[in-house]
């Protein structure tokens, strides 16, 4: 059983310690981010070649392509995030510490979110060039939609990657359990991006963005509550 750290500062300090460690590991290798970036780039190029979209079609499908490219690419990152901890039984050591597992989870989500954001910042301009995009709606809304959707993907993905950590063929299992749960967020993300790019005004009350935010809050809360159960499952 974990002993919950009652002091608020110490919980944040714990998160900060985990976060620093993960960032430092990535800073020294750049393995996860570069492989993910290249993978996402390949997906974008493949879709562009496979469909050879015209200008109007681009606007319609670009949101979906961007989301799906991020989704596929994140899987490799998410698997690596926990696989690192299995080397030298670090994960077992973490399980034995009295610290709250939720802090570990939260730090992992923050790190992964940061990495996926880097990839999106690099990928975004490339994407606009390849698809010749001229957004017709409120482009600034993308700055809300994309992080919200990414958060949904990363928070759930980090949780499920931890779940599949000690399973057989875990690399295969993660997308199998993550994608069905992620579907509503994907739907909301794709439709709001499409509305922004085409400017068709089909979502005047920003229902999809609200739904995405609700999804993030619900699943983040449940993940934080249940993470210790998953970490300590035996």
């Amino acid at each position: 059983m974990s002993i919950h750290v009652t002091h608020r500062e110490s919980w944040l300090a714990l998160v900060w310690t985990h976060l620093q460690k993960d960032l430092r590991i990535e800073w020294r290798s750049w393995q996860a981010v570069t492989s993910m970036l290249f993978y996402a780039l390949l997906v974008v190029v493949l879709f562009s070649i496979a469909f050879d979209p015209t200008l109007e079609v681009s606007r319609q499908i670009a949101g979906g392509v961007l989301c799906v490219a991020t989704m596929f690419a994140s899987v490799s990152l998410l698997n690596q995030a926990w696989a690192r901890e299995t080397r030298h039984q670090v994960i077992d050591a973490l399980r034995m510490t009295p610290a709250d597992g939720a802090a570990l989870f939260f730090a992992k989500v923050l790190t992964n979110f940061f990495f996926v954001c880097i990839v999106q910042v690099v990928l975004g301009p490339v994407f606009f060039i390849f698809y010749n995009l001229h957004p017709l709606g409120d482009t600034w809304l993308l700055a809300i939609v994309i992080p919200l959707g990414t958060w949904a993907l990363v928070a759930n993905g980090t949780f499920f990657a931890a779940m599949s950590l000690r399973c057989k063929s875990r690399d295969l299992l993660l997308p199998l359990i993550l994608f069905p749960i992620f579907l509503p967020a994907l739907l909301a993300m794709v439709l709001s991006v499409k509305t922004i790019l085409t400017g068709d005004g089909s979502d005047p009350h920003l229902l999809w963005i609200k739904m995405l935010a609700g999804y993030d809050i619900i699943f983040m809360t449940v993940s934080l509550l249940l993470f210790d159960t998953v970490l300590q499952a035996e």
Binding site: N156, M163, S164, R166, C167, K168, S169, R170, L172, L173, L176, I177, F179, P180, I181, L183, P184, L187, A188, L191, L207, W208, M211, G214, Y215, I218, F219, V222, L226, T229, V230, A233, E234
Partner: protein, 235 residues
């Protein structure tokens, strides 16, 4: 005594299924606009209702498992067996729904499939529970039960979100037959009877399979426990 009980319940179930088939295919009158193809309704709707029932059983059993796994192991083990059985039988019923739906949709709507509220929700529900069963296959040892129960909680949270999402999006599925509005409900008593008999017969069939499955799973747990105890004793 147990054998007799099992035989009688199997016989009753088969008799009910035959009676339900007769009601749906011969006793119920032909529907005015859709014709004979409407008879799929007598299978489609009861199966959908029961699929939700079995998934609900699975979800509740998963909650019981999570609550009792440390404090009351026998209850937790029983709950896990119910969670697994509920998910498996639910997937079967859901598969029937997803098969009969397009069969009806093709002649009536002119399309096999559309991304509409209920269709998408049902498909996502099916996907989630298939992934639940896959997780149970992939994960090894006792931790598997905990992980599966956690996934069941996530799945149960997901379904209402998908449903709401699709209601905002678009809908083509017929409005609910019961409780949908003033015009809803089946007016013809023969149709209502055929529908009622099919709900009953499929419910009895599903519950019978569910109980069998729980029984088999409990046996399996006993075998595994005995093996673990033997391995400990040998050391």
């Amino acid at each position: 005594m147990k054998k007799l009980l099992v035989s009688v319940s199997v016989l009753v179930t088969v008799a009910l299924m035959i009676w339900g088939y007769y009601q749906a295919m011969y006793a119920a009158p032909m529907e005015a606009t859709m014709g004979d193809v409407q008879r799929i309704f007598y299978y489609h709707v009861p199966n959908a209702m029961l699929a939700f029932l079995f998934f609900a059983i699975s979800f509740l059993a998963s909650l019981v498992y999570l609550a009792t796994r440390r404090s009351n192991a026998p209850v937790a083990q029983a709950a896990d067996a119910w969670a697994l059985a509920g998910a498996e039988v639910g997937v079967i019923f859901c598969t029937v729904v997803l098969t009969t739906g397009p069969l009806w949709g093709r002649p009536v709507w002119g399309i096999w499939w559309t991304w509409d509220a209920r269709l998408t929700t049902t498909l996502v529900l099916w996907l989630i529970y298939v992934s639940y069963l896959l997780l149970r296959k992939f994960a090894a040892g006792p931790q598997m039960q905990t992980l599966a129960a956690v996934l069941a909680v996530f799945g149960a949270l997901d379904v209402p979100i998908v449903y709401m999402a699709n209601r905002w999006w678009r809908t083509q599925h017929p409005a609910p037959v019961f409780g949908g509005g003033d015009d809803s409900g089946i007016k013809d008593p023969h149709m209502l009877a055929a529908f009622g008999w099919n709900v009953l017969s499929w419910a009895v069939w599903g519950l019978l399979i569910l109980v069998f499955r729980v029984y088999v799973e409990r046996r399996q747990q006993k075998i595994e426990n005995a093996r673990a105890a033997a391995a400990l004793a040998a050391e």
